[in-house]
Assembly symmetry: D2
Homo-oligomer: 254 residues x 4
């Protein structure tokens, strides 16, 4: 269990927002600031949030930052290849050891997410102002808390199946689009001791992260992953195990 | 493993077709005959198919019939309550012991399916000539064999989420509808030694079961369930188990 | 989300304890009192616990009690058949509508659990003072919180595979026994909006429910199910759904 | 569907067998030859098997070989790090595109398996002549075909939990060991269009691959993965998708 408040690091690539006027008009301080602000609004005192971006030293994700993060959120798109492999390895190791992870929208093709999934994470897409409808298919799931059976995102990039991910441990949301496509838009996975939530809505040219229902989903996702976050003393490795090792354990697995 | 040919029993309620002229015009000999015919076209020599209907003695599902059935398909709607509980128990016991089951469309609210699922199996519906698009979300699954990434059913009853089923062991198809709804339209479950496939397309007032892609899915579903079918000598029951029982077994579990 | 404190009802059959001296010696006030006491020790102020037993009117499970219960725990064995079908239906409906459920040990063959699973829930058993070792196979799961990688129950009834349950949504614990048997001893399921945890350790002739690790698992299980508990305004039923129903929703799904 | 016969490539590291006399005494021509021979005995005419080893050019796994392989089996241990990353990438791409994969014993820590799982795949181990008992927990699964409820491997390396893998799509076998450990010994996964079966029994210093039940499991595993094998024309990649793309498809997804 993590101590209150929940320590969240919101990672943003922060490239589009400084290169593209249309994006800058919607997210003048970067998408990460709007995401962080939405989390603060929803979680208030229960949350200690900071942000990190690609252009910071070590992309703002030093070992110290990650060791003190219960849940990391990840938005990237244009610059996936510029993320240093050493930092990817570090984040993967922290997820394996129990840090929660929330991957957003185009983060589906980040090195980080592909590494954790073991698949290409590819999909169909189209930018043509589709209306996205997000349906809850798991009404008892904590990430669905406080949300209606379905909600509408007026304009969104279409993300369509086949979405090349492993079968999720729990499927929470499905989406449809104006063009008739469907998408598994809210998916939970476990890797090692780490809990991962992928949520597809959210594009740089639409004000999706200002929408209240989306902010609720992100807050719920962060809380879900944080509730499962754990800090292991050592990473998982294979080791020789003595007879009757289980008789006198003192260390908790989490 | 079942011996060739695969023994399939197609069960049809066969009520609408004799009471409603519009339905009779599409399915003059009953939906079960069209379903059976589609299976024969697809599976040919590999298949031995028979049909059974509600108005037959024991609904055509005697213990002898079920003992000699590898896969049962089930279509019912109007007369779910007229299915005898004793027959439901018998079918459930045969599924538990390894008979395959393919449940179609409105069969979602049959006593049989609800008993096996443990949920209400309820959903949203609307009859307004929606176009249904069926997407494959599991391209390596045998039930997707030979099918395109998506196919269109020109006119269908809308079935929408929330569909109150347990999380499927494997999700194979998702559908969208003209109205924007989504549905988990192809779902695999295991209960005891029995394998169950639910497929939602197929309504009495549309010629869905004549469509080639739908016939392919049903043939694949029957083959998948048949490939997993098994005939246990005894039903599963709790029993006292002696020390070292596993040392000298002769009986195969399947 | 449920308000604090979490409202738990501990249901006990309370038959063995009044008929069998050996059982009475271990659980003089009934197993339910020891289970309830363990929860109080673990959860303290966060918990409001009450008990209910078979011999009370309506088995102590009136609609009012269930409507005000976030999580119900269930221990039964000898008298499964004496549980009124009307009460079983009522509990099932409350689980479907979002009440959490923790089923313990011999509760695997209660009418309630079999109804929710859709299988026989049968297993192998043996009473011969086996040592049970309980292993965590999902270290990020909230139900594993605070527990070691494995813990030992010195003397237990053997419960062995094949355990005839549907594949769990999440598998948390596996057990082995002196005789070499294995068992899926901690399993999570979802049915409707309700979350269900089954935990097999706990027998009337052994002091299992006094053991600290077991109490921790039960507290974690109750907290997990309570965190997912929801109170829907209406049960799930099929209904006709108008075009564009999702445009103006006010009701939260949970 | 793959054409008969099923084309299987048995890959063996083939290092221990040439360096260690004890291993050479059991597997004089290499473990891969015994595995291949067992498959031939079980599958006969339905199978076309070849072998490949680490010391061959491109480890015997040219693009041409993989394109003509329905199922690849993989045994490695001592020389995981000597497997060329380019070959690993090639095998991963073929699995994603629909080639089946059966990973054996110490292959759990191959680069290949870790890449596909996204976890460390670490475990506990001990070489002390444990007896392993393998239990079927999914009696309707094709990989359990013809096998008893449990079978005994008289002497085996212990592999124990926690086994750091993602939750399997289907769990088929669980094992216990003399020392009381448990292990998820038979696990099915899907990655892209490829189906993966991991089976843990099989160690270089024990004659496990000569045992009839183990040979049956491997034959079943190969047949299961082969029945799901598919050859996609192109790998999965993200791409822009036009409106109404689904209206006129000719290409089958598999």
């Amino acid at each position: 269990m993590t101590e209150s408040p929940l320590r969240v690091t919101v990672w943003g690539e922060y490239v589009h927002e400084r290169q593209n006027e249309a994006v800058a008009a919607i997210y003048p301080d970067g998408m990460h600031e709007v995401i962080a602000s939405g989390l603060r609004d929803q979680l208030g005192q229960d949350l200690a949030v900071r942000t990190a971006t690609l252009d910071q030293p070590e992309h703002g994700l030093t070992e110290d930052v990650l060791q003190n993060t219960d849940v990391l959120t990840w938005w990237g798109h244009k610059a996936h290849q510029r993320v240093d492999d050493r930092i990817v390895n570090r984040v993967v190791a922290n997820v394996h050891s129990g840090m929660g992870l929330v991957v957003l929208h185009s983060g589906h093709e980040s090195k980080l997410f592909m590494r954790l999934m073991g698949t290409t994470c590819s999909l169909r897409w189209r930018e043509s102002d589709d209306r996205e409808i997000v349906y809850c298919v798991n009404p008892g799931h904590p990430i669905a808390r406080g949300l209606p059976e379905a909600f509408v995102i007026p304009r969104q990039e279409m993300y369509g199946e086949f979405f090349d991910i492993p079968q999720p441990d729990e499927l929470v949301f499905l989406s449809s689009f104006t063009g008739g496509e469907v998408f598994r838009s809210g998916c939970c996975f476990t890797r090692g001791a780490g809990s991962i939530f992928y949520f597809s809505p959210g594009h740089e040219t639409y004000p999706v992260y200002y929408q209240k229902e989306v902010q609720q989903v992100l807050a719920n996702g962060v809380r879900w992953a944080g509730n499962r976050a754990v800090r292991r003393n050592r990473p998982f490795t294979s080791f020789e195990s003595q007879i009757d090792w289980f008789e006198n354990q003192s260390e908790a697995v989490r």
